[in-house]
Each structure stands twice: as structure tokens, then as C-alpha cells.
Amino acid sequence: MPPSSRIPPLLHPYIKLPKHDSITLTTSVLGASANWLLVRFICEALSAAPGRGVQNGTQDGLVENTETEGEGEDLAVVLVSWMREWEFWRGEARKGCGLDLVRLAKEGRFVFVDGLSKLYLPEMSGSSTHTPTTVPLPAQTILPVRTPGRIGPIPNRAQPSPQPQTEKAKDPGRFYLTSPDLKLLKDTIRTAISSLSSRKTLLILDSPDALLSTAASPTLTSFTLSSTLLALHDISSHILIHLSADTPLLSPSSPPLPLELDSQAFLVKVAHITERVLSCRVLDTGVARDVSGVLRCTVRDGGYFEGEGGGELEGKEMLYLVKGDGSVKVFERGAGEGH
């Protein structure tokens, strides 16, 4: 079964990556997490295997220009997560989409940047398990030689910058953020992208607002974070950002706290930069057994996104249900039961 069939048809036009570069925002609230949506984005990007052109051509009769260029168009994914660990994403991608992220990482199509496990947790001083970083993989330098025709990224790969403290001796495609410093973040992502084998990348930032709320540094504000985001857009064609949009974070309390002001400012700023917003929230009328939450999709006007019939995609509100086995059903209001 092709993995793309795991994506609900109603949702598909909204998570399809456009031909041009794009920034997408997904938001979640406490009771309705958007992790399943992020997994669907990974699935959509990575299941576009070399046979993708054929698939899409048969689906919606029009031939897209980019796909005639050949198989070089395949995407790679860089997932930066400040809230969730590698095991979680690996399990979810396998259950929800049938993707083997370990294999994809070995193939150079997926990189995970871990912003959770070593960000604030102090290194154990006595333990000898963490051997100091060895020389970066020699395979990295060999790889570009074997793939001629891609001239652009080679200089980047040739000089593995030493300053991002990445331990990739053990598993390929894994990087660690060791401090909330934005420069380190930029460098790590740059190294991660240059280690990939594809020209186009989808960069997923899971909860960068965690940085904003936890960092004590005065230089880390919504300003610097959003400018970092735009700088990252230069090196990555698609960016997907996942932020929390809970009410306490959006409507500051009466003496407004810096934390609340910062997260509000950042969220609003990002929402204005992006071309589409997919927000998950809990059902307004209470908890139901057959509905997990409401998904609101908003896209920018002006023909940025193509709908099903070739027309312009319009915003829509749908309900979704995440089942125990990891599958997701997306349906219109009132169409939930009996299917």
C-alpha cells in the first residue's frame, strides 16, 4: 500500500506541498495536539518517492511542470523537535503512515534534530557512556563524489563545520541541540540540510516557542526567533512550524508577563508570514467519543494553493478523529458516524 493513501482525502489538498517555497503554520492547544498532522506532513513529503510524478499525473489529469523535470524533485525532511523525542516520532510515523524513518535517515532523506534530550539536561559528569565526539562520519565526504550533477551543496558538505556539537557517530541522521542559542540552531540545521541527498527540503520546527518560554537569555525574543526563521527559509524551501495557541498564551493576563507577550507576538508574526494555517482545537461543545477535535484550515488568497478541481483552494473547517491504531479520519461536520 502506498503510504500516501494513509492521508485522508479531505485533508490532502491542505497538506500537499506547493510548487513554490512556502511556510506553513500548525497550531495546537492543550487537549488537541497537532502531532498527528505533523506526521501526515512528513508522510506527504517522504512518500513522494521517485514514482510520484506518475501518481499525481493520474490523479488530477493536469501535468505539473516541476514533475516533468525528473526524479530529482524528491523532498527530504529535517525535523527539529523541542518537545518530543526520536522514539515518539519514529513510532508515530510507522503506525500512522507506515514510514520507516530509520531507513529513510540512512538513505539521507530524513534528519532528526533533537532539541529535547540535551537542551537543558546537564550532562552526567561521572558517566563514561558519552564518549567525546569522534570525527564526523567519513561517509559524508564520500557521498557527494558518487552523485554527480549536484554541484550546489557540495562545498557545504565538504567542510563539516565543527562548531555544532553533534554526535552522529552512532546513528546517522541524528543531531542534538545542546543550548538554546539561536546561532547554534542555525548552524545545526544548516549542517543537517547539507547532509541530505535532496535539493528541496521540508524543515519542520516542532514547538520553537518552547525556546521562547524557557530561555533566560535576553537576546532570545520573538524578534530574534522570527528573524532566525526567515534566515532558515533561505536554506530550506518549505518550512512547517508547530506552535501552541492556548488562550493563556494569546491573551495576556492583567499585568502581562514577558512570557505571554513574547509568545503572543511570535505567534501572530508567524501567522502573518505564513501562507496557510492549520489549527487544531478541542471541540467547542465538549468531549465526544467520535471526534478528537476540530481542524481549521486557512489559506492565503491569490491562488497560492490549488484545490481539487484545479480551482483555488478555500479555507475549511473539518472534524478529525485519531483512532487507537494511529489512523486518522477527517470528515465534514455531521458526517462522522456510520462510515
Partner: protein, 393 residues
Amino acid sequence: MAFRKRNIALSCSGAGTDPNLPSSPPSPSSAQTPPGVRPSPIDGRPTTSTGTPSLDSILAGHAGLPLGNSILIGETGTTDYAGALLRFYAAEGVVQGHTVHVVGMTEAWGRELPGLVVGREEERREKGEKMKIAWRYESMGQFVSERGSSGVKRAPLVAASETSQPGLEESTVFCHIFDLAKRLTFPVSTAINYIPIPPNPTSSPFIPILQNLQHQLSSSPHHRIHRVVIPSMLSPALYPPHSPHPHSILQFLHAFRALLRAYPTRLTALLTIPLSLYPRTSGVVRWMEILSDGVFELLPFPHNPFDPLSTSGAATRGEERPQGLFMVHKVPVWNERGGAGGGLGEDLAFTVSRRKFLVQNFSLPPIEGDREAQEGAAAAGGSGIPNKTGLEF
């Protein structure tokens, strides 16, 4: 490998549940999993009991707290119902031979842990009572029937799957019954690790706590289960004044989350926070909730013996009246994957009695005044309300 297994058996008998027991033969289950841990019926991940059966049962069907996860319990008002949950959780850990870490409390807290219920008569009575509940769910299988249960194995399914040795049965209990009015007698070789909060006015109090936990985890054997109890987080009575700053507490919780994930088969945690001091509408508390895996809220009813409101919670007269509402905002694992918030979709209320912390469905009773009015009307004769004969024509 063989050496490891022998170790498990040793620790089993060393910190055993019952000192009267002879060194128990290694049962198949305890040889594979540490005591007090069983696989989740949903996806097989290891879970451990919170010490409160009804709390276990609302954790999205895992019938226990999945290891590597934390629960944050907020409570409004000046009551300490959440403290009862913490004590059951810690006592369960002590009885199962887990290592219990308590942050910010002294040994006096540990001495007040509830004791095990051992009386045979009481057990039997409890058993009979539970049996009635269990019958209803018998067809639903082992785990559902264990929900309403506690100390004793009663479902025939379970008894059939285990061997019939009484001693063995005792050793595989997942969740014990505790009595808040008794005091727990500590098994030999168990000690609670009390982690003090450093009163340093300048640096973050949480860094030494983390280092202590990390050290304990890395220096203990690989099969040892750890439980972390953090009562009344950020309470000014315990913590220095700058600890509620976002970079202090949120950095700690972020690192703590990383620690939980680094030991996905050995560590669980239960945290409480006074919501009257730190309301849920503030950004810091919301981030604390985002960084925790499960979020529950206790809303005690105002207590007034003359107030009819306090009696109205019980659906029938036979039931104990609940002491407050129990709100489920987030459930471990299930919410992380995108499942619905409340999980159950029902209003829940909690009842604390000597022996249990019960979380059950909450429904408003029929208005009791009405029945009196009806009775009064019936007593007044057929004048007011036409009776059956009067209606016939």
C-alpha cells in the same frame, strides 16, 4: 543475562511485599518485568500503578501510568486532596520495591504514608463488594475488571492464567489497597530519597534536584523502577521566591521531561501545583501543563455541613458524596498522539475516604425537594392531583 535475572529475584525478596513470605519462587512474570509493572493492554508498553485504581483506569485504557511519563495535578483551594494521591502513589512505590524520590519534603512526610490493608475480614468484605462490580464487566476481560479492583485477585480469568499458589498471587499484585488512617511499615532495605530544595536565593533551586535525580538513576541497577514525587510545586512555603520565573521552572520541567524520556522504562513522576496561587490562565502554568504528559485538576466543592449543595453530588442516597470535581485536561500517551482531550467525555468527581481515592462519573441527582413535594401532594389526597381512578372515563 542469567546474572541479571538472579538480581531481580533478589531485589524482589529483599524489598518484598510481605516479610512473612519465604523467598518467593521466580514467577514467569516477575522474571521478565520488575515488580509492579505490567504491559499496557493497548500497546504493550510497560505501565505501573499510581496506587489509586480508579486513577489508573482513566489513563486512556492503559490501566496504569505508562513508564517514562509524568502527571501534573492542580488543585484549587486550601485542601490537600492531591496530597492523598501523592501518598498513595509513593506508598505503592514503597510496597512494590521501587525507589521513591520526594522533592522538598522531610522524613515526616514519609512517615505519614498510608499503611497496607491486611486484615482478612476487611479484605474479604472488600472482595465481596468488588465482586458485584466485577460481575458487570466480567465479559470485558481481565483489565477492565481489574479497574474497580485493588488488592486481591478475583477475576477467574486472572486466577486461571496465574498459577494457583497463594504466595505467588500475592506477589503479582499490581495495585494495593492503602488505609490513610494507618501508617506504612517500611520493608527493610527501602529508603525514600528526600531531595531538599536548596534555599539559595540567587541560583535556580532545580539544578541540584535534577543532578540528584540523574545521579540516583544512573547509579541504580537497570531494572530498578523510580518514582518521583514533587508535592506543591512552586509553593512559596517550600521554594525560593524566584523559582516561579519561567526560565527557572520551565527549564527544569523541560529537562525533567528529557530525563523521563531518557529512562522510558524506569521512571514515572507525579507533581502537584496549587492552582490558587498559580492560576491556569497564566502562561507559565500553561507551559507547565504542556511540558507534562498528563494534566488533571481537582476542584473541591465548598464544604458546609448545612449547605444542601454539598449533599447534592451523590446520585443516590446510598453513595458517598463526592468531594469535588475531577477534570481531565490531558492524558499521557493518548493526547500526545492526537486523541481527544478528556478521553472519556464524562464529568468526573472524586471521593476521598479512608481507604480509597475514587474517581467516578458525576451526575446531578434528581432534586430532592421534589420528592417531598410529591409525597406531600399524595398525602393531601386526590384533591390536588387527579389519581388514576379519576382519570378513567
